[in-house]
């Protein structure tokens, strides 16, 4: 399965934007154009119909190698074997969804200000949406958060974030310049007469910005590494600081870096580097 960290372009369904064309047809075009993660968002459909759509999209995304996320409904996500669920601020809390979905499925959260982003990250979200960057027809009631929140998120958020809300080829570069490295679009893709081409153009901007930013430096600063099998970004400079971030510094745990146990006495001297693989294993003490 694809990892959320690899995903760059997120497309969210909105059937009201493509009357006369089928959901699957439009989403398939978006994926072919470069969307690598797909969300089923449908506030109207009864659950039985929603499940039918989810199952169809699951089949499509599996075939084309994209991640598949269900908006709002962990039960539908589970029933359709989706890769995860996306939650709004008024939906189930991350922890509750996590309990239902388990550690391996993806939980994403919409955020509209930095405290929400920090809270979502702390609660264990795998990614967040940052927006709406621009006024949008999908969420007309919500004021745009502007590019300043994108910049804040780029500095402070370590999990992947997708800038969302009114993003289209005409403004994508502004959003990327503000610090986003991942974009999410709804109407700009699914409402386009040529969803595949719209996706391809957005994808092209993302990749150009990625190419031009200094190699190995993630947009949000910090170091990319894998901790207990999960990719993460840290601002920790040493293993001790990393352990503190995971609230393990004062617990009896065994730390392993790139296949070798690191003596606890040396945690403060061992640097954390890009692409390190770190494992924290609790000490097993019974006899």
């Amino acid at each position: 399965m694809r990892n959320i960290r690899e995903c760059k372009l997120y497309v969210v369904s909105g059937e009201q934007y493509h009357p006369g064309r089928g959901l699957l047809e439009v989403m398939e075009a978006a994926i072919r154009g470069g969307a690598d993660i797909v969300q089923l968002r449908d506030k109207e459909a009864p659950k039985r119909e929603l499940l039918r759509k989810a199952e169809a999209l699951r089949e499509l995304t599996r075939r084309l190698g994209a991640l598949f996320i269900v908006n709002d409904h962990p039960d539908i996500a589970l029933a359709a074997e989706a890769d995860g669920v996306h939650l709004g601020q008024e939906d189930l809390p991350v922890e509750a969804a996590r309990r239902m979905l388990g550690p391996d499925r993806i939980v994403g959260v919409s955020t509209h200000a930095l405290p929400q982003a920090v809270a979502a990250e702390r609660a264990g979200a795998d990614y967040i949406g940052v927006g709406p960057v621009y006024p949008t027809g999908t969420k007309p009631e919500r004021a745009a958060v502007t590019l300043s929140y994108v910049s804040e998120a780029a500095r402070a958020v370590r999990i992947p974030f997708f800038a969302i809300g009114g993003i289209q080829p005409g403004n994508a570069e502004d959003v990327l310049a503000a610090g986003a490295r991942r974009l999410c679009a709804v109407s700009a893709i699914v409402g386009s007469p040529d969803p595949e081409e719209a996706a391809r153009r957005l994808r092209g901007y993302i990749e150009r910005w990625e190419f031009e930013s200094p190699s190995g430096m993630p947009a949000s600063g910090g170091v990319r590494l894998i901790v207990n099998g999960r990719e993460g970004v840290t601002n920790a400079g040493t293993l001790l600081e990393l352990a503190a971030e995971y609230r393990l510094a004062d617990r009896r745990v065994v730390a392993e870096r790139n296949g070798e146990v690191v003596p606890r006495a040396g945690w403060s001297e061992v640097p954390v580097r890009e692409d390190d693989r770190i494992e924290f294993v609790h000490f097993v003490g019974g006899g």
Binding site: R251, E256, E260, P263, V284, G286, G287
Partner: protein, 385 residues
């Protein structure tokens, strides 16, 4: 040939295993092993060492057999639990019946910085069957001072872990896991339970390394920290690091002590570690261990306890076990320790009960009134996971 004779015939399957062979068996027969903690892991380790034909097996445990041990502590039976025999003593009796050619020494004691050096002195290998970090730290320090490898094993729930701490090769337990200041792991036999397959798995890992070391195959020791879960079935290994420069135990300059005078000193125990009175909460039961700091006579104490209204539950050469009127159970060992159950893990109540029921009318209280030292520290007991 005689079954009990220390002849080679009983080891035929083992000597036929090429890496051991006749020469390895002879080395085994000349070896001495220390097993600290004779609970689940310790009992399984002791049985394997005795069946394999180690020359001498030295057992140390501070606890006695209870019915709740029988689910996973393979050397004990219901009769041992009924008699409340000390685990080291009950195990030694079984082990002598299993292989009469092995010298089995039983010590009913707590392993601390005070006595670890003397217990390690003269052994070729130490096997860890304890269930708490304090014991392991004392043991690791003593082992590294004397150049004796320590084979760590730990179990909890369906998980286990094992590694060889080898002086001159690897870091010591203290460097790897931190000293006394780090808290006990929150998962223990009390919170996570433990199943026998996890115990058997880890004991097998430790025993395999022990056989290598004792039969002269030390170069084949596994150099990894291994963690496993027998329920989900997952095994994970990571390399063991070398000793840490500057560590007095595993640093390069530390090394094994070879000078006989120095070695004598190294084997000596640390008087700074003496705590005249300590009350610690043991793992696995509602049990507090109070250390009185002087030997007790189980026979005489039995009389005192009876006079003071206690019902004697068990009495043997090593301990006396009594039920006090307020439903507190006291188990007093000859080495001066008292295990107190039913005091709701309250160290103050435990000490109060010791003072009330165990005080010698002529000499006064065996438990001094000053009770601050170490009170309330949470520890495991040795070998009761």
């Amino acid at each position: 040939m005689s079954e009990a004779a220390p002849g080679l015939a009983r080891y035929a399957r083992q000597t036929r295993f090429a890496p051991i062979g006749i020469a390895g068996q002879a080395r085994l027969a000349a070896s001495r092993v220390l097993i600290v903690g004779v609970g689940a892991l310790g009992a399984a380790l002791a049985e394997q060492m005795v069946r394999a034909g180690a020359g001498e097996v030295r057992l140390v445990d501070r606890d006695y057999v209870e019915p709740s041990n029988l689910q996973r502590q393979a050397l004990f039976d219901e009769e041992d639990a009924r008699q409340a025999l000390p685990k080291a003593v009950a195990a030694a009796a079984k082990l002598r019946r299993i292989n009469g050619s092995v010298r089995v020494e039983a010590h009913v004691a707590d392993v601390t910085a005070l006595n670890a050096g003397a217990l390690v002195a003269g052994v070729d290998l130490a096997l860890d069957g304890t269930d708490n970090a304090a014991c392991r730290l004392a043991l690791s320090d003593a082992c590294f001072r004397q150049g004796v490898p320590l084979l760590y094993g730990g179990v909890s729930g369906s998980e286990g872990a094992s590694a060889a701490f080898v002086p001159g090769r690897t870091a010591c337990f203290r460097c790897l896991l931190g000293g006394e200041e780090a808290p006990e792991s929150e998962r223990n036999c009390e919170t996570a339970g433990v199943i026998y397959p996890a115990v058997a798995f880890v004991a097998a890992l430790q025993a395999a390394e022990a056989l290598k070391w004792l039969s002269g195959n030390g170069e084949a020791l596994r150099r990894s920290w291994l963690t496993a879960d027998v329920w989900t079935f997952a095994v994970r290994e990571s390399r063991m690091p070398a000793g840490r420069a500057g560590c007095p135990f595993c640093g390069r300059e530390a090394g094994a002590v070879t000078d006989p005078v120095e070695r004598e000193r190294a084997c000596g125990d640390d008087p700074a570690g003496i705590a005249p009175l300590e009350a610690v909460v043991l793992c696995g039961r509602d049990t507090i261990q109070v250390t009185t700091g002087r030997p007790l006579s189980p026979g005489e104490l039995g009389e005192t306890l009876r006079r003071r209204g206690c019902r004697i539950l068990a009495s043997n050469a090593f301990l006396v076990r009594a039920l006090a009127p307020e439903e507190i159970r006291l188990t007093a060992f000859a080495d001066g320790r008292v295990l107190v159950q039913g005091a709701e893990a309250d160290a103050g109540r435990a000490i109060e009960a010791c003072r009330r029921y165990l005080a010698d009318p002529e000499e006064g209280c065996p438990v001094p009134a000053e009770t601050s030292a170490g009170v309330g520290k949470t520890e495991g007991g040795n070998g009761d996971a």
